[in-house]
């Protein structure tokens, strides 16, 4: 990349972010609440011995011994850090944990809505000015609209939200109409391209591999088996994005049907094809796998990670998405899968689900700044996400460094074999 100038990135979530699993917090709080009740009950029962007349009367025969016992028991129950205090403390911890869980839940809901709304409306005046300038300069309404959307992509979140979101009635109805059939996978042989034969050394190299596959045939993916110096293996799977916008039934898994189903978090023939290709490439549950997807491919990657982890079929340790709307499904990604979501700030597509990515320790969302002024260029892997990946490599952000550090085993291979597979949709 000649003349490359690193651009700053904004990061949300990741290792430096907040992790709060509401259900787990409430479950723990319940346990603490029960402990407070049980410990308080025990303390009450033991207080009975302080007032026991039998023990008092036995003091007639050993007053010092009886007083000693009473003092020890009173200290255990009511002294500093005694059982009564402990019961109250666990009760307070119960309340604290429940309150925190409720606050996080409310904040997450508010944050997603407010983030989109505020960003959308704050950027609207500047976007309108830029759009007006474009119209005045070129006289093109399409160009002005292009400028408006790329300058304020969060408007799309608002528009989708107004229609009930991607899981609303409209989206559900549309996805039901787009029949997905089932996947057929053909072997495409080993890729001898020098770029495909070079092991990646950084995120930009990983993105370059995805870009290479994105310019191949419709439905072509690849499985890169990396072999390290100690003989251990790691696997990268490249999943390109949409190549056909044909809304009619067709055999191309990279067409509209996959988009609509994937954005709503439904399984797709594309996903099943990816899993079959991995199996044919000899990937085993012992191999660490990184799924890399652009646009629609990123949605498929996330859904594949969720399903493969649930079934135990493969060990998906990392997912990298570029320009993918994964906000509606990312919260379902298991905590042991690390997700890095690259979103160009002028790219409309990541907003196609009307949902902001959740702030989780395993989900790092990086906003890159590669604005070219058009919807297509801002979403393009070569023009935007390839330099954006280099921006991420150059970033010193703690969450980004933690992600790249955890993915080191994908960056230090001795050699790589890249096998191609072509996925098509049958019975459509």
């Amino acid at each position: 990349m000649g003349g490359y100038e690193p651009q700053p990135v904004s990061v949300r979530g990741g290792a430096d972010g907040i992790e709060a699993h509401y259900d787990d917090m409430v479950e723990a709080a319940r346990l603490f609440g029960r402990a407070a009740t049980d410990t308080g009950g025990a303390s009450l029962a033991l207080h009975g011995y302080l007032l026991d007349p039998g023990i008092y009367s036995s003091g007639l025969f050993d007053p010092v011994g009886a007083a000693d016992f009473e003092a020890e028991l009173a200290a255990a129950l009511d002294g500093p850090g005694g059982l009564s205090w402990v019961a109250a403390e666990w009760g307070l911890l119960d309340v604290q944990l429940r309150s925190a869980a409720a606050a996080y839940l409310a904040a997450d809901r508010l944050d997603t809505a407010a983030h989109d709304m505020l960003d959308g409306f704050l950027r609207l005046p500047a976007a309108a000015v830029q759009s007006g300038e474009t119209l005045a300069r070129t006289g093109s309404v399409a160009g002005a609209l292009n400028r408006l959307l790329t300058a304020d992509p969060e408007l799309l979140d608002e528009a989708i939200g107004a229609f009930g979101g991607v899981r609303g009635t409209v989206a559900g109805g549309v996805s039901a109409l787009l029949w997905d059939g089932h996947a057929v996978v053909r072997d495409g042989g080993v890729d001898q391209d020098p770029e495909a034969a070079a092991p990646p050394r950084c995120l930009a190299d990983v993105m370059a591999g995805l870009a290479l596959r994105s310019y191949a045939r419709h439905g072509e993916i690849d499985v890169r088996v990396l072999t390290r110096a100690d003989g251990s293996r790691a696997v990268i799977v490249d999943i390109p994005g949409t190549k056909s916008w044909d809304p009619l039934p067709n055999g191309d898994v990279t067409s509209l049907a996959t988009n609509v189903r994937a954005v709503a978090g439904q399984p797709t023939a594309y996903e099943h094809g990816v899993l079959t290709a991995m199996q044919r490439a000899g990937v085993t549950p012992a191999d660490d796998v990184m799924l890399v997807g652009h646009s629609e491919g990123g949605m498929v990657a996330v859904r594949t990670a969720i399903d493969a982890t649930a079934s135990g079929r493969f060990h998906i340790s990392h997912v990298v998405t570029a320009g993918s709307p994964i906000g509606a499904v990312a919260a379902r990604v298991p905590a042991r899968v690390q997700v890095l979501a690259l979103e160009n700030s002028g790219d409309l597509v990541p907003h196609a689900d009307g949902a902001t990515n959740p702030d989780r320790t395993n989900i790092t969302t990086v906003a890159i700044r590669r604005d070219h002024g058009t919807v297509s260029a801002n979403h393009d892997i070569e023009e935007s996400y390839l330099p954006g990946a280099a921006d991420v490599d150059a970033s010193g952000d703690a969450s980004v460094r933690a992600f790249l550090g955890s993915a080191q085993r994908f960056f230090d291979a001795r050699d790589v074999q890249t096998s191609r597979y072509v996925i098509t949709r049958a019975n459509w």
Binding site: I18, A20, D24, M25, A28, A45, P53, S58, L83, Q96
Partner: protein
């Protein structure tokens, strides 16, 4: 609760019950501390919460230790009471024995005296 236990075994039984409570408190402290560490919440607030939970768990173990101390004190007290009661019983038994012998001797003496005066 009786005003006076018939023997000190009841005091030892109470000490045993206190120790059982102590064991339960200790086990609960360990379980709660582990659960607090495993709670899937990570933030500055979570770190403060865990520290507080650690303190509460530590206090529980300390309180359990104090309950053990109280139980030990009660056992010691029961042993002392037992020794005092045994000593009192011995003295009482001895006193009664001496009394009976004295009465016998007085009886003998009175009988002899009456014989002497021909009554």
């Amino acid at each position: 609760m009786p005003l006076l236990y018939e023997d000190t075994s009841e005091l030892h039984a109470i000490a045993h019950r206190i120790r059982r409570h102590a064991d339960e408190v200790r086990a609960r402290a360990a379980a709660l501390a582990a659960r607090a560490e495993q709670t899937r919440w990570h933030s500055a607030g979570a770190a403060a919460f865990r520290e507080r939970a650690r303190c509460a768990s530590h206090a529980m173990r300390t309180a359990a230790g104090r309950l053990d101390d109280a139980a030990d004190a009660l056992d010691r007290h029961a042993n002392r009471v037992h020794r005092v009661l045994a000593a009192m019983q011995y003295v009482a038994t001895a006193a009664v024995g001496e009394g009976v012998q004295l009465v016998d001797e007085v009886g003998d003496f009175v009988g002899s005296a009456l014989d002497c005066i021909g009554l």
